[in-house]
């Protein structure tokens, strides 16, 4: 079908080429920028009503042959207001055109360039600065949630700085990295793991150090036409972040933003008081004829959840200035923010500064630099998947255990760490310094050519410092870990743009080389003379002294050609060839491509008279991209030495991987068809259908442990992501004193595993396990829950009951009875935004939603374990007795009681939700008042609430349905092990412009 479509587009294109007009006269002139007076190169000059056109040269001059009768010239330039000028009798016409803000929004940032949205054949979702400029944010990661159709962003934890799970049109990998590639001003960011195991299980937010105020736009590249230019790294989508710049001849504008706010947990799990706990455990022991456990002195009680939570806080100060003269433009921005989480011990301070500078050396030579230096200081808490995390420990700690001993001093509470003592005494600091930037020079020559060389760096340095005091670790314990991940790259491109007689041809060829070195160092020791010696150097026993390093390199050649005829018929082709050090000699190089075509139907004469239709475009693309995110040397059989292999002071060697010289890129082929329309001048519609097939998946093929290996990375299997992206934007009211815009975006996704390596379940389907609860199964989704089905407590017997494989009720729990129990991948996700501005007031509400996904609240297995010493959910108090037959938990003497908490669908919940993510109310001070100040040009005050309201499924028993404790993991989604819920916050702030 798609082939036929492409063919018919081609036919239309060929037939539409008209005959040239005969008579003509020549008109010359110059096009300049209205504000700077500079000549503008590349402006399209068209003779109205014909297909005749020309483009201005480097100095803005043009020369055009005007056919006989025609008398009007049209000047079109991306980002500028289109201007029509009557020729009259003149043979020379000079025109100045002005920047059009609305038009600027129509420029879309694509790989290695920009395109006009109207004539682009790529599927790119853009989040521009206008859509978030009034929203106080500390990380741009949040901008990806609910703002772009087909981009599913799930916050993994409420821990400060936690990475989110971002999936662009579904995840295209099983084992290899599944997060999109982030590119800032042309520099692909390093995406190593920089976090020593602390905080959320998901690692650190890769955009932690980016100041949202510096961002001009974020483009999410979705279809093959858009991502193929990133070749081996495009399969999981690409997020392009372009930072702000000044404009020529712009008066310097200074912005000051300040906001401050408070936060708390949106919700908590249930837990027993000391009294409830003692009564319950005594009742269990009596019913089962076992010894009543010890409860200390029998009277102590402490509310640990209350003890480890607090009112979180945030404040942020930012200052920026932008402007320029006729040769030089600049943007400088700086931010300092200070956040404290709603659990103790969790703080994040960020300081970041940016300088973007561009200078025109001459009319055709431009040089510039974009540079960001940032520093994040964190106080971290224990890993959520450990009892050292404040909230995890608080739910599990027996409520009669107290943080202070009888002497009033902190006491060691054992396996469940005393996180209150930890907050007071343990050093758990993390510092991340990042310098990201690029310098470029570009030269325009022979009017139509532009050559650009761009050199970029991304230097990441981290420093983690940990020190436990004597009370928590006898003798004291500490470590220090330093990581450096330093990348540099060079990108050299040649651009050609030619406009003639209605034909626009663009071509890009380029070469890039990118290499990055990752080094880490760890020293760890124990045995300190005093808690007052904070550094590992004071330890008596060295536990680890480690230093490792690794390097990779990628060399690429790429090209793109586009053609448009009269902004009506559009064609584009892309090619990229990548060579990577990560693959063996047999598979070092890979080639990726895309072809796309578009048809702007609204430019056709037969649609000119359809009054309500302002714009209509149909486009389609097909192409490939890859994924190289596996270890650096996964193709080699390796033997490791070091402290993991030594024995009795002698160096050892242990085999770690199985050789696989044929290890190759995985390849994703994507088909896309998209319809863009604007109707009634107020409603924008974008609807896409896509089908992504990933073949030769880089998957960890599980091996029987009897081979000595758990798995090996292989190119095996095939997976499909198919879906629909829908975006609607309606400008309901557009009066000068009253504006109201509504936008809705939704992404529907169906993920299906088509084939996997031979590894059959009892039903004969191949599968790969992600977690104990979750696996990828042929014919099902990548994130399929595979669990024993829990039925409930039998009102007659008081026994807990499950279903066996055939669906018969049984009182025996067996993992052999596991079946497919749902998917962690939502049927659809999206966002719904309303922006209202009435006179000086603005109101912005943003909802996001997820539907049809399951989440596993794994912590319930611990808090609903009826036998353990952990604290428990108060739900267990509703246990079966002859008087309470409709009970949640089994009878205390039931033989099924020990298995009640075994992993089953009891812990699986409907993860659908609708959340009022953000509501902002602002007031802009009247202009006359502002004017009195002499210096201010505008002032706005606002208040914002985040996560104020959430609608969850009935009987949802977790703290928060928005969870992905494993962060960016492909194989484990929608699972929580005491992951912190999202914070509910209220923030107030002020924006001032000078």
């Amino acid at each position: 079908m798609k082939k036929r479509l492409l063919f018919s587009l081609f036919i239309v294109l060929v037939l539409a080429v008209p005959a040239w007009a005969q008579q003509s006269r020549t008109v010359n002139g110059k096009v300049t920028d209205q504000s700077s007076g500079q000549g503008l190169p590349g402006v399209a000059v068209l003779v109205k009503g014909t297909t005749v056109g020309a483009a201005t040269g480097a100095d803005g001059t043009f020369s055009i042959n005007v056919p006989g009768e025609n008398n009007t010239l049209v000047f079109r330039y991306i980002g500028y207001t289109t201007k029509e000028v009557a020729i009259g009798n003149s043979s020379s016409i000079n025109v100045s055109i002005s920047v059009n803000d609305k038009q600027l929004q129509e420029v879309v940032v694509v790989g290695y360039g920009t395109q006009n949205q109207r004539v682009s054949t790529q599927s790119v979702a853009t989040v521009d600065a206008l859509s978030f400029k009034d929203t106080p944010l500390t990380s741009p990661q949040q901008l990806l949630q609910g703002q772009a159709a087909g981009v599913q962003m799930t916050n993994s934890s409420g821990v400060l700085g936690a990475a989110a799970n971002v999936r662009v049109r579904g995840v295209s990998s099983i084992t290899a990295g599944g997060q999109p590639l982030y590119v800032i001003d042309g520099v692909p960011l390093n995406d190593g793991g920089y976090s020593f195991t602390q905080g959320a299980s998901s690692g650190l937010n890769p955009l932690l150090n980016i100041n949202p105020n510096d961002i001009e736009s974020m483009s999410v590249l979705k279809d093959a036409a858009a991502v193929a230019i990133y070749g081996s790294r495009g399969a999981n989508g690409v997020v392009l972040i372009n930072t702000k710049s000044g404009s020529k001849g712009q008066k310097t504008q200074v912005n000051v933003d300040y906001f401050t706010g408070v936060s708390e947990a949106t919700n908590q799990l249930k837990y027993m008081s000391a009294e409830e706990y003692r009564t319950f455990r005594t009742a269990v022991a009596n019913a089962r004829g076992t010894a009543v456990p010890s409860f200390g002195n029998g009277v102590d009680s402490y509310d640990w959840v209350d003890g480890v939570t607090q009112k979180g806080s945030i404040s942020s100060y930012s200052l920026s200035a932008r402007g320029g003269n006729d040769k030089t433009t600049f943007y400088v921005g700086g931010v300092y923010s200070d956040e404290e989480g709603f659990t103790i011990g969790n703080e994040l301070k960020k300081l970041s500064g940016r300088l973007n500078l561009a200078h025109s050396v001459s009319d055709n030579v431009k040089i510039g630099v974009n540079y960001n230096l940032s520093n994040s200081d964190m106080r971290r808490v224990g890993l959520e998947n450990s009892t050292a995390a404040p909230l995890t420990g608080a739910y599990l700690q027996s409520p009669w255990v107290t943080p202070y001993g009888p002497d009033g001093n902190f006491q060691n509470t054992g396996f469940i760490v005393n996180s209150i003592a930890q907050d007071a005494l343990t050093i758990n600091d993390f510092n991340l310094m990042r310098s990201t930037g690029n310098a470029f020079a570009e030269i325009t020559f022979l009017n139509d050519f532009k050559i650009k060389t761009d050199w970029g760096i991304d230097f990441v340095e981290t420093d983690a410092k940990y020190r436990d005091p004597d009370i928590l670790s006898p003798g004291g314990y500490g470590y220090r870990s330093n990581i450096a991940d330093n990348k540099w790259l060079t990108t050299n491109t040649l651009n050609y743009n030619k406009f003639f007689d209605g034909h626009t041809i663009g071509a890009l060829v380029g070469h890039s080389f990118e290499t990055s070195r990752f080094d880490d160092m760890l020293v760890e020791g124990s045995g300190f003379a005093s808690d007052d010696l904070p550094n590992v150097g004071s330890a008596s026993t060295p536990l680890s002294t480690s230093a490792t390093g690794s390097e990779w390199a990628l060399e690429s050649y790429f090209g793109r050609v586009n053609y448009d005829y009269n902004s009506k018929y559009l064609l584009e082709g892309t090619l990229r060839r990548d060579g990577s050090s990560r693959f063996g000699a047999n598979k070092k190089y890979g080639t990726f491509y895309a072809v796309s075509a578009g048809w702007v139907l609204s430019e056709e004469s037969f649609l000119q008279n359809v009054g309500f239709l302002n714009f209509l475009k149909l486009k389609t693309s097909y192409g490939t991209s890859g994924n190289d995110r596996i270890g650096n040397f996964a193709y080699l059989g390796l033997f490791a030495g070091g402290s993991g292999a030594d024995y009795n002071g002698k160096s050892g060697l242990i085999p770690t991987t199985v050789p696989n010289p044929d290890l190759a890129w995985e390849e994703t082929a994507q088909f896309d068809i998209t319809l863009n329309a604007t109707v009634f001048e107020r409603l924008d519609i974008e609807a896409s259908f896509y089908n992504k097939n990933t073949v030769s998946l880089l998957a960890s093929q599980p091996y029987p442990y009897t081979t000595g290996f758990a798995s090996a990375t292989r190119n095996v299997g095939e997976m499909r992501n198919r879906g629909i992206d829908l975006m609607l934007t309606s400008r309901n009211i557009t009066r000068p004193d009253f504006e109201w815009t509504t936008s809705l975006n939704m992404g529907f996704l169906k993920n299906e595993i088509l084939s996997l390596p031979d590894n059959k379940d009892p039903e004969g389907r191949n599968f790969i396990s992600g977690s104990t609860a979750q696996r990828a199964i042929e014919g099902e989704s990548l994130n399929t829950f595979y669990l024993v089905r829990y039925v409930g407590v039998n009102p007659e017997t008081g026994n807990a009951e499950w279903l066996d494989k055939d669906g018969n009720v049984t009182t025996t729990y067996s993992t052999a009875n596991r079946v497919v129990a749902g998917s962690a991948i939502p049927d659809f996700t999206g966002g719904f935004t309303n922006r209202i501005r009435y006179k000086a007031f603005d109101l912005n509400t943003f909802f996001n939603f997820s539907y049809g996904n399951k989440v596993l609240i794994d912590g319930l297995r611990f808090t609903e374990n009826m036998l353990s010493a952990f604290n428990k959910s108060t739900d267990l108090l509703d246990y079966w007795t002859p008087e309470n037959r409709d009970a949640f938990a089994p009878a205390l003497n039931s033989p099924t009681l020990p298995n009640f908490a075994q992993l089953s669908t009891l812990h699986l919940q409907d993860g659908s939700y609708l959340r009022l993510k953000n509501v902002t109310l602002g007031y802009t001070l009247p202009q006359n008042l502002v004017a009195k100040s002499k210096v201010l040009s505008s002032a706005r005050v606002y208040v914002m609430g985040q996560n104020l309201w959430t609608l969850t499924a009935d009987n949802f028993r977790g703290p928060d349905p928005e969870v992905s404790a494993n962060g960016g993991s492909n194989q484990v989604a929608g699972e929580s092990f005491f992951a912190l819920p999202q914070p509910r916050s209220i923030t107030g702030g002020v924006n001032l412009t000078f």
Partner: protein
């Protein structure tokens, strides 16, 4: 001029970008790893690969803690007051096939076994003039000893004891060849087959192994495979198989070596003395905090830096007579994981660094094996006088009165005493579970799960991990799971 300069710079950078970087793609090599070709190309790397097998056995799942812990808490020596669900399940005889702790135990044992297989197959092929045939044979023999030890521990966990059905029951798959890249799906061998392989590996190893005295350094003499260690393991195997005469013979051969004798007090833990026949040598860097813990992390209370999970059971406490130094000098009181106050062993004191050595075979065990083998073969108490003479030094060391033949009414009575001494001596060293099973005694007589802990009970042995059953169609699960 400006323009010319910039053009030149541009041209230069383009050229640099295009031509200077090509080779890097092919030249980059791992920095922390050797490739397969270089791992067995010299005596040094072959020796390192052997040390790599020892190193693997230091893991938590083998001799780093879990093996010992299960051997005592899935029995009557340990009151498990910890809360970790997968361990609690094992303690309560409530385990399921998906138990991750057991899955890891299986995984890491086979990891070590296949690393031993690698050494056994490849060390003889190393071409290095300095690497003599005798040295190669010793490397192979040490790997075979380790393989035998690993299969022994695996068969104890995953199969019913010899006593239930004479060893024809299923045990674990026997994998003896190195992994070539081709995935195999081995079936479970019978217990007799596994035991036969253990015996074969040990008897083949003995001629090439060094004796303890041939190693100069005590940590080598006690921490490497030796003739004494191999024979002591054979004695244990024969004891478990009720081949009393061979158990006696191997035990006698061990004790004939003057490298092995009873220590005079209990300060021998972690000291590499004549008490140690085979002891895994741990240091702070082997089992540090970044690993999964160690023996002390389970056996020491919070105040010492442990989890306080595994306390003395009340039954074990009651078994000690008043004044028994095996209790008084090897225990301390502390707060357990559930907040209660318990008695904990001090055999593994270092919960901060987990650097305690892991005793695998002690001279005392060999003495007790010899005593038991003698009693089993004796028809009268008088005929077992040597056994009484063997256990009396243990009682003297514990500060207790000695026995005479008159104290025992029958050989069964004497046997019970030998077994009781064995329990008290070797508590927390991982042997209790098998001592109960091979004597057809229940693993536990009271508390949660006691009804399932009887001899022959399905849940007295561990489940074949569900993951392995899922992947390897040749495996059959243990009944009851």
């Amino acid at each position: 001029m400006n323009k010319k300069y910039i053009l030149r710079a541009l041209g230069f950078s383009l050229a640099l970008g295009l031509f200077s970087c090509e080779d890097k793609l092919n030249e980059l090599r791992p920095e922390q790893d050797l490739t397969e070709e270089s791992a067995f190309n010299s005596e040094a790397t072959a020796m390192s690969s052997l040390y790599g097998v020892y190193s693997t056995t230091q893991n938590f799942e083998i001799f780093g803690g879990l093996g010992h812990v299960i051997g005592d808490f899935q029995a009557d020596n340990v009151q498990f007051v910890g809360s970790f669900p997968t361990l609690q399940e094992i303690q309560n005889f409530n385990t399921v096939g998906a138990n991750l702790t057991i899955q890891n135990l299986w995984q890491v044992h086979y990891r070590a076994i296949t690393r031993a297989n690698n050494v056994i197959a490849k060390a003889p092929t190393v071409e290095d003039p300095g690497f003599t045939e005798a040295e190669k044979a010793q490397v192979v023999a040490e790997a075979k000893f380790l393989r035998a030890l690993l299969y022994f521990q695996m068969s104890n966990f995953f199969s019913q004891p010899f006593q239930l059905s004479g060893g024809d029951n299923l045990s674990v798959p026997l994998v003896l060849e190195p992994f070539t890249g081709e995935i195999t799906f081995p079936e479970r061998a019978t217990l007799n087959q596994v035991h036969a392989q253990i015996e074969k590996d040990l008897t083949e190893a003995i001629p090439a192994l060094k004796t303890a005295s041939q190693f100069g350094d005590p940590s080598e003499a006690r921490g490497r495979a030796t003739v004494g260690a191999a024979k002591a393991l054979l004695a244990r195997l024969k004891l478990y198989r009720e081949n009393w005469s061979q158990a006696e013979q191997y035990a006698r051969e061990v004790l004939a070596d003057n490298s092995y004798s009873l220590a005079s007090d209990y300060s021998f833990y972690n000291a590499n003395t004549s008490e140690d026949v085979f002891t895994i040598q741990n240091s702070a860097i082997d089992n540090g905090r970044t690993g999964s813990g160690g023996l002390a992390s389970y056996y020491r209370p919070a105040a010492s830096g442990g989890r306080g999970d595994a306390a003395y059971s009340s039954g074990l406490l009651e078994s000690y007579e008043a004044g028994d130094k095996r209790l008084s000098s090897l225990s301390s009181e502390g707060v357990g994981a559930d907040g209660g106050t318990y008695i904990f062993t001090t055999k593994y004191p270092d919960a901060v660094n987990n650097a305690d050595n892991a005793p695998i075979i002690r001279t005392t065990e060999v003495v007790l094996t010899l005593a038991e083998a003698i009693v089993r073969q004796a028809t009268t108490v008088a005929g077992a006088q040597e056994a009484i003479d063997l256990i009396n030094p243990l009682r003297v060391r514990a500060g207790l009165a000695t026995y005479t033949a008159a104290d025992f009414t029958s050989t069964a009575d004497l046997l019970a005493t030998v077994l009781e001494e064995r329990r008290k001596e070797l508590a927390f060293e991982g042997l209790r579970r098998m001592d109960l099973l091979r004597n057809k005694m229940p693993l536990k007589t009271s508390g949660e799960g006691a009804s399932k802990a009887v001899f022959g009970g399905d849940l007295t042995i561990l489940p074949i991990p569900q993951r392995e059953l899922d992947i390897n169609p040749s495996l059959v699960p243990n009944p009851g799971y």
